[in-house]
Structure formats: structure tokens, C-alpha cells
Amino acid sequence: MAVAHPLDRYLRTDRLPTMWCPGCGLGILLGCILRALDRRIREGSLRRENVGFAGGIGCSARMTLYPYFDSAHVIHGRAIPFALGVKIVKPEMKMIVVGGDGDIAAIGGNHILHAIRRNADLVVIMANNMIYGMTGGQQAPTTPRGLYTTTTPYGNPEREINIVKLAAALGANYVARGSVTHTPLLEQMIYKALGKRGLAFVEVLSTCPELFGRHIGFRSPVDLYSELRKRVVVKTRPSVEESDYSWERGFVIGEFVDRDEPGFIEVLQEYTSRARGGAG
Amino acid sequence: MRIEVLIAGRGGQGILLLGHILGRAVAKYTNLYILGSEIYAAETRGGDSRVDLVIADREEEADFIKVMGADIAIVMHQLQLDAYSHLIKDGAVVFLDRSNVTSVPQRKWRVFLEPYTDIAEREFGTPRVANMVALGHLVRQTSLVPPEGVEEVIRETVPKDWVDVNIRAFRYFLSR
């Protein structure tokens, strides 16, 4: 495969172009992830063969199809336990979980909940396009209340989830919200997440022009992208209380939590080593 | 009686709508049984679009959803004509869009070759109703369904603003 683009060395270029619709934000996110990884690999803080991806099912989870790393495209909602299984038995792996808002926050809700509670040593990147893309535009737990989706034709009656608050309340070591409309910042967040122990959670606002855009009247990729960009509010070190997730008040992006409690893997190893010490 | 109808063209030519309207008209405005299936490529532009209809007067003869040897066909583009002509049987009545078809295979078909797209553009100001022009042609030549039935269906199916031009396009061949 001839290398053209600087990220081609990290891509399965024979699978390009991607399956994503034109102008889908997910490709932008993938670029940010790969550039962040590139920085880490170049600076020597990560070894390439120790990077693994895992994703469930959805347009976002299909991100696992393209990186030229160990990668698992598993079942809807279950990438986190898959990744944790890898991580526990091979702690040297840096496992990156990528998934959509449905994959991670709806069906996978219990796993993200407990992964964060455990402060499991994973990087979890949730692409939030506020919709179910893969299945054709149904309501997601992130869909702002009132908006039209195909399963809420009279408007979404549900309150949307602010997953930043959840992640913070459960004690993740790193909690950030980025947006594909703000790529240098997003890349920096992922770079940082890759360096953390414990659970690093990055919610990424992304665009689904094909469905979400169409639902809300912004049909072209550029229209939706610029609409989202308008509604994004960048804050430096905002508090969790400031983490507005709202169609009206805007979506605050930034780093909400950055702490350094021991991760699950090291505590597990410490306790497990007691067994080897003969205790118990 | 058992008739297979094939409707094919490229994405964007309104093939699915054509097939749907025809199928629906048969279902609702004849006493025939019908099964229909659609194929469309995922690509935004240019992929295959195809509708297969199996129509019969006895329920058990409406027995398959894919055309195995079409009795009637509308093909709106050369690419699909090349791809599917083996599915059209000898003796079939075949409607081809001369605007997009350049070479017609030597087969024992009864061929109607008319520039549906050009007609649509010329007469109705948009190529988007080429499908209705062709449909009108089919309905006129085959009398598979009553034209009023088709018009009824157009009215329930097509977005309001488009009903009128679609009906006019549909009538193009019927009224001559």
C-alpha cells in the first residue's frame, strides 16, 4: 500500500475510503486519535504493538475497522468488558474503547458505569452524534429533548444524559468533552487520556449529517458542522457543574476532571500478589 | 396468469418510486396478487436500483420476489440494461429510456425506445419525472393497471408539491 497521507502508516489503507457518509464527523475523530497516538509513539511513551482498539456496533464503533493496530469490532455495547478482559491479562496494553452514544451510553451503560467506578485502566472515547446512526436515525440517550427522531416522531420526550456528570460522579481519573469542530483541542485531550492511569473518558461531539442533520434541518455536512460549532462553548478547566449539555444553552467542552488515583489494574495486581505472598 | 415486471436504472432515477407506485396500483386497483422487492446500492450516486414485481391472479402464483424472466421491463440506463437483460425473457415488452440507453441487445423483445429523460426535461422542466413518463408509457401499452388507479397512488405517495407534475408526466404517453 503506497503511503500518501501522514496517518497512512496507522491506517489499513486498503479499507479506505471509509464506510462513513460524506462529511461524517467520525473520520475527523479518528484522525485526532491517530495523531494523538502518533505523538505518544514517537515520543516513546507508548509502543505501537501495545495499543489495542475495541468497539461495539454502530457507525462510531466501526472506527475499529481502520486503525492498523490490534483491533476488535465486537457486539453492541460490550467493547468495555472485552477491552478490560484484554487489559487484565496483559496490563502492558493500552486499550482504547471507541463507541457511539448508543453503544456506550445506552446498551453499554452498565459497563461504562462499572468501568468508571473501578477506575479501570481504559481510554474510553464516546462519539456523541446525538443519534443512532447505524440503524437509521433513532433516538439516543443523548438526543436533546424535543427533537425529532424516527422513533420519537412527535419529539423526544426523554431527558438527555450528561455523561460528563456521570463519569465525574463515579470517579474517573480523566473526564473531558471535546468536539470534532475543535480538532487541536480534541487531539490534545486524547493525547492526555492516553497518558493516564485509571479510567480516561472523552466524550466527543460529532456530526451525523446523514441522519441527525437531516432530522433537524441541516442537511449538508457543512451546515451541521457549522451549526454544532456555533453551539459549542469552549472553557478552560471548567467545573463539572459547568458542563452544560444543552441544545439551547450550548455544549460546554473542556477538561472537567484530571486526577490521579490508582487504577483498577494496579490495585488488582497488588491484591492478587497477596495470594502469591501466601496470605489469605 | 403470472407476470414478472423488472424496473431498473441508476440511483437517482426514481426507480424505487416508480416500482412502488406501480406495485401499489396493482395491489389496490386490480384484483391481482403481487409481491415486490427492491434492491438499491448503498452508494449515494450511480449504484444499481431495481424493483422486481411478481403479479398473479392466484395467490399461490405470486410465489417469488425476484424476477427470473421478466414479462415486462422498464430499464432506464445502459448499465442496468447490460446487467439485467438476461433476466428479461424473450417475448417481453421492454421500455427503454433512449436518453440513457445507447445500444439495445438483439433479443426477441417488443421494445419501446423513448427518450423519457429528455421528455421529462423538455416537457416538465425536470429529469426527475422521467420515471413517471416511462410509467405512463407502460400503463398505456400493457393495460396492467387502470391509469386512474396509478394517479390515485401518485397522489397518496408523492410529496404534495410534486403531485401535479408527476401526474402530468404520467399522462404524457397516455394522452397521446
Binding site: 440503524t135 | 395491489a27 410465489d63
Partner: protein, 374 residues
């Protein structure tokens, strides 16, 4: 009554409305989402509720809950989602909860080819949940059958107080057809039996003379007990072999003894049939054509389309195929329902014709395979 031209999926949605659906609990999945979306638009207009849940587990459990509040309930899913529902279906079995699960099969295993078809899940549909009891499985092949069998699924479910699986597939889901749509008043609609005794005397799992207990609901003052443990007629936990036996055999019998009544099939070219092509669901369209081709080539072939897959009406099937020389079971999987049929038709020669195809098997291919055995 009106004639419509709709897909199998839409026909199911329309059928559920005709049967009195009041609650649809769903989680989107290809190729079922349009059932969900159709109902999301239509059911609220008729006073029903359509809610998207966080996953299939929540959906089926909510449907079960709603059924206990006297609302006819349904959910629709395909392989991955059905797999997540089986634990709750076992709950529905032991608590005798009427609920309809539409299972639109797609290409598996696992995520497979989500948009395409197959019949890989025919055994999971009834053997898939722990407890080893049968639930009725009805399999339409056309949009009209999808409509009719959906109504039937509700009726069976209410009558027998059981979950019922309506087993469709991706092909039927998106096949259009002429469908005679009947409105709520125009079809026979069965409602669950309600208790005739006063609340103090009501025992939620007491079948009286029959096999199916009358069902009181939440909010009616009956102090209903929904119990997933092995229970006696009151609904009290009773970990005893005699209670377990009584319960198991009653639950078994109420389904299996309905087999004759539930039995439903379509047959073509039956007279003088010596080569039977047995099939179900979309594949039976291929089989119908294959039988015709075989007839045209001089074979005495017929085509049988089973519309009730479980409970297996063994007598009926044997009677139907009595005297047929060879029985071919044509399926779009590795040969699964064949395992059932060869056990039932122990007198005949039964041959598996497994044809794996993302679409309908080509009739020609069916013919070729069958001819190898003739």
C-alpha cells in the same frame, strides 16, 4: 378492511394494531426498526404507547410489566437482541405472561450481515431460553401472512398466556405485497380470561378445570403475584418436586396440546406428491418455485410451507406427508428445522437441503440439490 401494498415489517405493525396492541417497547435493530418507527407514528394516535428503552433487556421486561398491567405488548428484534431477551422470555414462560416477540432473522452468527437474510435462528426461537419449555413460533412468508400471523400471535398469546415468537426474516421484512388489512374491529381478537372470583379468592396460577389460569392485572385490587420462582397456585414459592412437576407439565401441556389448533401450513401441487419440499418463511417462496420447476420437469413434487413451527404438530405433519417418498427440508441455514422433522417423520426419507444465501435461495439451486437425491 382495505387493501394496502406494504412490506412485511409494515404488515406486522398493522397486524399488531389490529390485534389490539397497546404497548410497544423497543430498541432499534436492523432489520426491524421500521416496525418500531411505524408504530411510533401510529400507535400513539390510537392511545397506545411506544417507548424506546436503553436496551433489549429493558424492552422485553417492560413489555412483560405492561402485560401485567393488562396492556397487550410487543417488541421486535433480531438475533443479537433476541439473545438478550431470552432470560426474560423464560420469566414470561413461568409467569404465563402474554407477550409477542417479533423476531426478524438476519444473517448471523453475531453481527454477521445485519441487513441481509437467513433462517439461522429457528431453533433458538424456541429452545433458546432456559427451562426447556416450548413457546409457539409462527413463521410468515409474505406480507399478507405477516399481517395475519401477527394477529394470530396475539390471540394465541392471550389465550394460552404465553410469549409467542413471530419469526420473520430480513427478506420478508422488506418485501412488498398486497395485504388485506383489517381494522381492529374486523378481525377476531382474543382477550385473556379474567378472574371470575372476587379478589380474596383469586389464585393467580390456578387453572381451574383447564390449563390456563385467568389473569388479573396490576391495579385491579387482586393483589396479584408475579413469581419467577417455582410456585404453587397462589404464586407462593414451593421448592418441591411435586409442585415442579405439576407446574412444568401444565406449562408444557397447555402449549403442546394446542398443537393441532395452532397447526397451519400452505401446500401446493399436493396431488400425487412423491417429492415434498418442506420449508417455512421466506425460503418457502424459493421452494414454491422449485416445486413448480420440478413438476414441469416431470417430478411429482409438491411444496409445503409450514406457518407454525412450534409446537410441532407431529400427527398432523405425519398425516400430511404420509406416503410421500422423499421429504426435502429446505432452509437458509445449516439444516436446523430438519433435525425436528426427521425425528417426526421417522417413516419417510428426510433430506436436508441447507442453502446459505444472503437473499432467497435461488429456486434453480434448490432444484439442483434436490435432484441429486432423486
Amino acid at each position: 378492511m382495505r387493501v394496502d401494498y406494504v412490506t412485511g415489517n409494515t404488515a406486522i405493525a398493522l397486524g399488531s394494531i389490529a390485534a389490539g396492541l397497546r404497548f410497544y417497547a423497543g430498541y432499534p435493530i436492523t432489520p426491524t426498526s421500521d416496525i418500531f418507527e411505524f408504530l411510533a407514528r401510529e400507535l400513539p394516535k390510537r392511545g397506545g404507547y411506544v417507548v424506546q428503552f436503553e436496551d433489549e433487556i429493558a424492552s422485553i421486561n417492560a413489555a412483560i410489566g405492561a402485560s401485567w398491567a393488562c396492556a397487550k405488548s410487543m417488541t421486535a428484534t433480531s438475533g443479537p437482541g433476541f439473545s438478550l431477551m431470552v432470560e426474560a422470555l423464560s420469566l414470561a414462560v413461568i409467569t404465563e405472561t402474554p407477550v409477542v416477540v417479533v423476531y426478524v432473522m438476519r444473517t448471523g452468527p453475531s453481527t454477521g450481515v445485519p441487513t441481509r437474510s437467513g433462517q439461522y435462528d429457528v431453533l433458538q426461537a424456541t429452545y433458546g431460553f432456559h427451562g426447556g419449555l416450548v413457546v409457539p413460533v409462527l413463521a410468515p412468508a409474505t406480507p399478507q401472512e405477516a399481517f395475519d400471523l401477527t394477529v394470530r400471535a396475539f390471540n394465541v398469546s392471550e389465550k394460552l398466556r404465553t410469549p409467542v415468537v413471530l419469526l420473520s426474516d430480513a427478506t420478508i421484512a422488506h418485501t412488498y405485497g398486497r395485504v388485506v388489512v383489517r381494522e381492529p374491529g374486523e378481525v377476531e381478537v382474543v382477550e385473556r380470561a379474567k378472574p371470575s372470583v372476587p379478589p380474596e379468592k383469586y389464585r393467580p396460577y390456578d387453572p381451574g378445570e383447564g390449563l390456563v389460569p385467568p389473569m388479573a392485572c396490576f391495579g385491579e385490587g387482586y393483589n396479584v403475584l408475579v413469581e419467577s420462582l417455582t410456585h404453587d397456585e397462589r404464586g407462593y414459592y414451593a421448592p418441591r418436586s411435586d409442585v415442579q412437576r405439576r407446574l412444568m407439565w401444565r406449562l408444557y401441556r397447555k402449549i403442546v396440546e394446542s398443537a393441532p389448533e395452532l397447526f397451519d401450513y400452505g401446500a401446493a401441487y399436493l396431488d400425487g406428491c412423491d417429492v415434498a419440499l418442506v420449508s417455512y418463511g421466506s425460503t418457502s417462496l424459493s421452494t414454491l418455485v422449485a416445486a413448480k420447476i420440478l413438476r414441469s420437469e416431470g417430478y411429482r413434487a409438491c411444496s409445503i410451507r409450514l406457518r407454525t413451527l412450534f409446537p410441532v404438530y407431529e400427527e398432523g405433519i405425519r398425516r400430511l406427508l404420509n406416503g410421500v417418498g422423499k421429504v426435502f427440508v429446505v432452509e437458509n441455514n445449516v439444516g436446523l428445522y430438519y433435525r425436528e422433522l426427521r425425528g417426526v417423520l421417522r417413516g419417510s426419507e428426510v433430506v436436508s437441503v441447507p442453502i446459505i444465501d444472503l437473499d432467497l435461495p435461488q429456486p434453480r439451486e434448490v432444484v439442483e440439490v434436490v435432484k441429486q437425491w432423486l
